[in-house]
């Protein structure tokens, strides 16, 4: 029996030592290592994988900075525990992309109270428990999309009128509500523009294809499809293509990720007429974060709101180079 317990202990010890040492940093350097901790809510989403890649690339410019990224796999409790443990390690900077607003509010407050500078990335929380909050303006994206659609229809018919199919993401998410309301701020001024179908596809391409098929059967004439993210816009295109009607309308999406699977490539290929880059917010986070690390007296703004760029055929090729990162 003693042998078995000993075997268990030795096995555990071996495992832990291997695991811990394989992820430990290299030899210690003379200069003080700055520790930046990033709590990411879900590595599995393409938008967030892109955030991680850019975060790693930008921080690598500073050899005295050690970056650690923790993935919470969309689990609130896991993210709370990961942030708690980071607090114990006393990082020089803590960046959090909260999975949900309510659960992460208290623990980020703890971080602020223990004197750690906290950057809240892209999604907000219930209380301003951060040093600074960097986000993108979704309502502005909605307005830009709306304006693009109005301009397109004005050119097509000589005046702003036409049939629009809207495809929405998860209802109740701030980004969804804002992208919807922003477009409607614009559409409200033009009674000739009609939303003939309001479909919900939860950000997912396959669902959008099904919803679009239904919309195509119900409406003999569609001018524009405004999908609140690129995968849904692509799904809508595929549905129209199956019925041979893709030339009848244009497709507009949001996200504008680079790389061969992203929205920018789809604009280059002529599948999407336009997309709107949903900023990763990472370059601003690194810029502000780096200043916080180096300059003790620097007081960042409480909120930084980033604006989107519209991608159309004209600037797609250039944007593709700009927004595509290699790991």
């Amino acid at each position: 029996m003693a042998n078995r317990t000993l075997a268990l202990l030795l096995g555990t010890q071996f495992l832990l030592l291997t695991a811990c040492h394989s992820s430990a940093p290299g030899p210690e350097s003379d200069q003080k290592q700055l520790f930046v901790a990033f709590s990411q809510c879900n590595n599995a989403e393409p938008y967030r994988a892109a955030q991680n890649a850019l975060m790693t690339e930008l921080w690598a410019q500073y050899p005295d900075v050690k970056l650690v990224i923790a993935d919470a796999g969309q689990d609130d409790n896991k993210q709370i525990a990961q942030v708690e443990t980071f607090i114990r390690e006393k990082p020089d900077l803590l960046i959090v992309a909260p999975n949900e607003r309510a659960p992460l509010t208290a623990v980020m407050g703890q971080a602020v109270q223990s004197g750690i500078p906290v950057i809240c990335l892209e999604r907000d929380i219930l209380e301003p428990n951060y040093t600074t909050y960097i986000s993108a303006d979704n309502r502005d994206i909605g307005r830009m999309a709306g304006q693009f659609i109005v301009d397109y229809l004005s050119k097509k018919y000589g005046r702003p009128q036409g049939n629009v199919v809207q495809i929405k993401g998860l209802l109740g998410v701030e980004a969804e509500i804002a992208r919807n309301d922003g477009a409607h701020d614009v559409f409200a001024r033009y009674p000739g523009i009609k939303i003939v179908n309001d479909a919900v596809a939860d950000w997912i391409q396959a669902k959008a294809k099904d919803r679009m098929t239904e919309a195509l059967r119900a409406n003999p004439h569609i001018d524009v499809v405004y999908a609140h993210n690129d995968p849904m816009a692509i799904g809508a295109y595929l549905a129209a293509h199956d019925l041979g009607r893709e030339k009848e309308m244009i497709f507009v999406g949001v996200d504008g990720l680079g790389g061969p699977n992203g929205g920018i490539k789809k604009v280059m290929d002529g599948i999407l007429a336009a997309t709107f880059v949903y900023p990763l917010c990472v370059d601003k986070a690194v810029e502000v974060g780096n200043r916080i690390l180096r300059d003790r007296n620097f007081k960042p703004d409480k909120v930084y709101t980033l604006h989107s760029t519209m991608i159309t055929q004209q600037n797609a090729a250039e944007a593709y180079g700009q927004f595509t990162f290699t790991n």
Binding site: C20, S23, I80, T105
Partner: protein, 351 residues
Amino acid sequence: MKTRYSERPPLEAPGRLSTARSTGTDRAGAIRLLYRLQALVALLGIIVLAIILSPRAADGSNIFLEAGNLTDILRQVSVTGIIAVAMTFVILTAGIDLSVGSTLALGTSVVAIGLTRWSVPLGDVGRISLAIIAALAAGAAVGALNGAVVAGASIQPFVVTLATMIGVRGLAKWLTDNANIDIGFGQDVAAVFAAFISRKVVVIGSLLVMAAVFWLVLDVTVFGRYVRAVGDNERVARYTGLPIARVKIWVYTLSGLLSGLAGVIYAAENHQGNPNAGVAYELDAIAAVVIGGTSLMGGKGSVSGTVVGTLILGILTNVLRLNNVDSNVEMMVKAVIILLAVAVMSRRKSE
């Protein structure tokens, strides 16, 4: 009392973990002690490793041993720990309860609905108590249903609780319209509830109290002995006239009740009622129970073992996170530890 028991045939084979002290020989007693110690020795080993592998703070102090970090670990394991304590009883009867995660979700939803949507003419304390009692009652009801079907319809616990797992999840989603119910940080009754219940003292205290109560019930009461007997050898237990159906209904009801309690604590800590909470929590609970030395075959095990198993998993996770080990590697390490622990424990059985 003693006379009654001596009339019954012995329920446990010699050498097995026995609470009937009157039947223990010196050898059985020593083996029982070693058994209990085995999990404890593993725990001490992991603690030593954690101290050695812990990074150091700027002033040289050991981060793992900081009071804040140690209480963090206890807080982090409390929710699944509470579920695991009740799961011990279920597994001791050679059963299993897969519905605990869904019942937790139901608990969070009911307490959040009670605090934010019911207008009751009571003070803050009254409204909070009512919401908590409603959540506990909901959990207990689910448990009682599980127990009744397992006992009455003679369907395997795995299948019954699998069905409840799905159905109760659906119920929680239906009650909340599949949306989360946020609990704010203001002055309303929901915020008062969250601020109070989420305190480390209350959370960790709940785990300790539940562990102590269940430990006592298992080791000291007649009911506790019945629980072991049913799992050890149900046929013999039936012949000796034990109230098997009642025992089973009770263990599942307790499991549901504690899952509801875990849900109340979850809602306070996360400041939200969440019908999608607790997915796969049953696996964490079962892992803790199993590492603590309880056998899935029933009859053999202890609440103290479960507590030790819970702590082992919690400290392990903490050590890996303090060393910034990738969370995917973390999962693989945990898997190997669980297998190692069970392999070691089950070797004992054949000796």
